[in-house]
């Protein structure tokens, strides 16, 4: 690589392509390719990682036996538990609480606050985290949160946008509550003191997003999740709700019928702790770190599908396991940030996707799966991508167009996070386009719920990315942070109501693991795979080859 000459952070040969983009910008300013027809969408979707041949198999056991899932997910469902039935005593609780919340992203933190609001004493709640409270996908949300609050918009419009974007596979009764609660959630965030972007007259700045028919994206610059989560977490801390960090749940406990608690594992000291609870909310987020189909990811370090694995073992039903969301615009250059997200809001504000000839080849705000597929087609079928020094192909996202359309200074003002990220690697997104390629972004499916976050297993609620149904087989931008806030709140309220009926503590056992192991054996699964995996492993290959386990 050292032989390459770099100009403004790009090797010379890429710079030549950039010159084409920069010189054609003015004539592209008022041109936008037409949106695809439904038929055109169906055609290009054949190239999407979900539909391209291979990559998936039928799940071999359990409630969703026969359903298709990515191999990486099926591998975890078809893996053995980390602990075995008779290895440890789980009957003596170290923590006894009414409500256990697993995972402190937007969904879990919101749930805890609302359970407290609905009358559960703070000391009867425990929030446990695999990493720090807030090291989560939530804190990384950039683009915004949808809410149909403007006069020319309506919840039913929001419903239609979401269900169309989800290819009409969303669970309608759950989706209804999502769109209906959205404006209230905006109000709640403001009441807590979140700084949502405002126009001069104090109205919200509201932008469009892929697949939305109205501008209803509420953002906090490009730090939406950071602002939302740090405010809710601050409220959570003010109430002194107890929480634990670096103590992931490695198994749920049941009395045979309902969830009665969980086993925590101390990642640093290696010992375990038992939590006894009357109600449990699972809010463990997504699975980007499984790198489905070898894709890089936008997700945080702990996004490893744990929640789905744990719930499945006790018989929770999943849905829409066959689709995965790839975000069209992951960074493809420079190497240090490959896969990291470039928010959709860049396109909402005018950045165009361009091929190596500087041509705008696609409507910039198609639903994500369609947009991502069109990028793959441009790079791998039409051969119009740009090849990076590490061999990745990508297409340009013409960020300087944002300033041409919205005025100088817009990028630093609206996208300080993006601007800073590239600046750290000597690239200036105000002057040059950025190279992008689809990246693994979101777990569309998950544990099935009703409109209050309840699962088919007594004592178990789910909220946020770990759940499935509300987005069907494809989620629109801005509906996920909303999902976490709406169903975090609903599950918090619902568990609190349940607790008021004074349920008793149940027996603590992991007997269900014996059943699961039996099912694994019956399905003929012979493997050393264990799950949940908790954290990915990126250690260098040479070091791994010399690891010994003697201490």
């Amino acid at each position: 690589m050292a032989e390459l000459k770099f100009i403004g952070g790009y090797p010379e040969y890429m710079r030549k392509h950039i010159d084409i983009v920069n010189s054609t910008r003015a004539q592209r300013k008022d041109f936008t390719p037409e949106a695809m027809t439904m038929e055109q969408r169906d055609e290009v979707l054949k190239l999407h990682p979900d539909y391209a041949p291979g990559g998936k198999r039928a799940i071999a056991l359990g409630p969703n036996k026969g359903d298709m899932a990515p191999n990486e997910v099926a591998d975890l469902l078809e893996a053995y538990p980390l602990i075995q039935g008779n290895e440890m005593d789980v009957s003596k609780p170290d923590y006894t609480v009414d409500l256990l919340v697993i995972g402190g992203g937007l969904a879990g933190t919101t749930a805890a606050v609302w359970a407290n609001d609905t009358g559960i004493d703070k000391n009867k709640i425990l929030l446990v985290n695999k990493l720090r409270h807030g090291d989560a996908n939530s804190i990384m949300a950039e683009g915004g949160t949808q809410a149909a609050d403007r006069e020319d918009d309506s919840p039913d419009r929001h419903f239609l946008d979401a269900i169309g974007g989800g290819h009409f596979t969303n669970k309608p009764d759950v989706l209804k509550e999502l769109v209906k609660d959205a404006p209230f959630i905006m109000k709640w965030l403001c009441d807590l003191g979140a700084m949502i972007d405002r126009e001069k007259d104090n109205s919200f700045v509201e932008k469009g997003g892929g697949g939305t028919s109205r501008c209803r994206m509420h953002a906090c610059k490009d730090y939406t999740g950071l602002e939302e989560l740090r405010v809710i977490r601050d409220e959570f801390r003010n109430r002194e709700i107890p929480y634990l960090e670096y103590l992931p749940v490695v198994e749920l406990l049941t009395d045979g019928n309902r969830v009665t608690g969980a086993v925590l594992y101390n990642l640093e000291t290696g010992d375990y702790k038992i939590v006894q609870a009357k109600a449990t909310i699972l809010a463990t987020g997504g699975f980007g770190r499984l790198h489905v189909r070898g894709f890089p990811t936008t997700n945080h370090y702990g996004a490893t599908c744990d929640g789905v694995v744990l719930a499945y073992r006790i018989g929770a039903k999943l849905r829409d396991t066959d689709t995965v969301q790839y975000h069209p615009t992951g960074a493809a250059y420079p190497q240090q940030i490959i896969g990291l997200l470039l928010t959709e809001k860049l396109r909402s504000m005018g950045a165009q996707p361009l091929n190596k000839d500087g041509e705008a080849f696609v409507f910039p705000l198609e639903p994500r799966d369609v947009e991502a597929s069109s990028f793959i087609r441009e790079c791998y079928v039409k051969d119009k991508g740009i090849i990076t020094p590490t061999g990745m192909r990508g297409i340009w996202l013409d960020t300087p167009m944002i300033e041409l359309k919205n005025g100088k200074g817009t990028i630093e003002k609206s996208f300080p996070g993006m601007f800073r990220m590239f600046q750290r690697f000597d690239l200036d997104i105000r002057k040059d386009p950025v190279l992008v390629f689809p990246t693994l972004h979101y777990q569309n499916g998950g544990v099935e719920t009703d409109p209050w976050g309840k699962t088919n297993i007594a004592g178990l609620w789910v909220a946020g990315e770990v759940s499935g149904g509300v987005h069907g087989k494809n989620r629109l931008m801005g509906n996920s942070t909303l999902d976490c806030l709406v169903f975090g709140r609903r599950s918090g309220i619902s568990t609190a109501e349940y607790l008021k009926s004074n349920p008793q503590y149940g027996k603590l056992s992991i007997d269900h693991l014996n059943n699961y192991v039996k099912l694994l054996k019956e399905a003929g699964i012979e493997t050393s795979r264990k799950a949940p995996v908790l954290l990915p492993d990126y250690r260098g290959k040479a070091v791994l080859a010399r690891m010994i386990d003697i201490f």
């Binding site: 990682p49 807590l192 730090y223 260098g540």
Partner: protein, 251 residues
């Protein structure tokens, strides 16, 4: 160009180094860094985080979002031959030859508990919860340490004047990494004060737009229930038609 059926394999191949860890045989250029005082040869161009992983460290602490948002990967370093102590986020900083580095996984900083509903924006709210803010010496060490290039000293100065609006704006990009607090000779926990200021500003100085409050009332009064219930029961064919017929507002 790959065959149509092999496109996914081609993509996976091109992503290998980010997904499965780096293979030595692909590397041409090496540099030397010092992790916690021990010397390692690592591929040039990696981030501090990637370089530590390449060297065999598997993170439990000091690694969260891996993208510059969470503030978990706080790092302090010095470059060989330079006396200055520098700060960075490990996931967002390229390694340099001769880097001596360590991470700070946790900042023991004081934070106050308050009820946001019982405060008013202004000097009083800050002084009641964090009287120590007045101890700032104006030394600028915090600003120099901030990996988000925030003018920390300036927002503390705004706080001392009770200007929560300015404090909120200036501190908005804060990822609560703790570096300012670690460097502060007056032992302040700047980022916690900024959190309070932002909430005060958001809550009290930017009223909720009337149209939003209106919509909440409309929803509570059941205005959209009939329409939504109808949609819930509508067949997919019919939904498809409605969806295609939507008029789309220009973004």
């Amino acid at each position: 160009m790959p065959e149509k059926d092999n496109i996914m394999d081609a993509i996976a191949e091109s992503n290998k180094s980010v997904v499965t860890g780096i293979d030595e045989k692909d590397i041409e250029h090496w540099i030397t860094i010092w992790i916690l005082g021990r010397e390692y040869k690592v591929p040039a161009g990696l981030t501090i985080m990637q370089a530590m992983e390449f060297s065999g460290y598997r993170f439990v602490r000091s690694c969260g979002c891996r993208a510059g948002f969470c503030g978990a990967c706080t790092t302090v370093y010095r470059i060989e031959g330079d006396y200055r102590l520098k700060t960075a986020m490990a996931c967002q900083t390229r390694i340099e030859e001769g880097m001596y580095l360590t991470q700070i996984p946790f900042t023991p900083a004081e934070r106050a508990n308050y009820d946001i509903n019982k405060l008013a924006p202004g000097i009083e709210a800050l002084l009641t919860n964090y009287p120590e803010i007045l101890r700032c010496l104006g030394c600028n060490a915090c600003t120099k340490a901030c990996p988000q290039d925030i003018d920390v000293m300036e927002y503390i100065a705004a706080g001392k004047r009770g200007d929560v609006g300015l404090m909120a704006e200036l501190s908005f990009d804060c990822i609560q990494c703790g570096l300012c607090a670690i460097r502060c000779p007056a032992e302040l926990a700047q980022y916690n004060y900024a959190q309070l200021a932002r909430r005060l500003h958001g809550k009290y100085e930017t009223p909720i737009p009337g149209y939003c409050l209106n919509r909440v009332k409309e929803i509570e009064s059941g205005k959209f229930d009939a329409e939504l219930d109808k949609l819930v029961k509508t067949s997919n064919e019919e939904l498809r038609k409605l969806y295609t017929a939507r008029d789309i507002e220009k973004a």
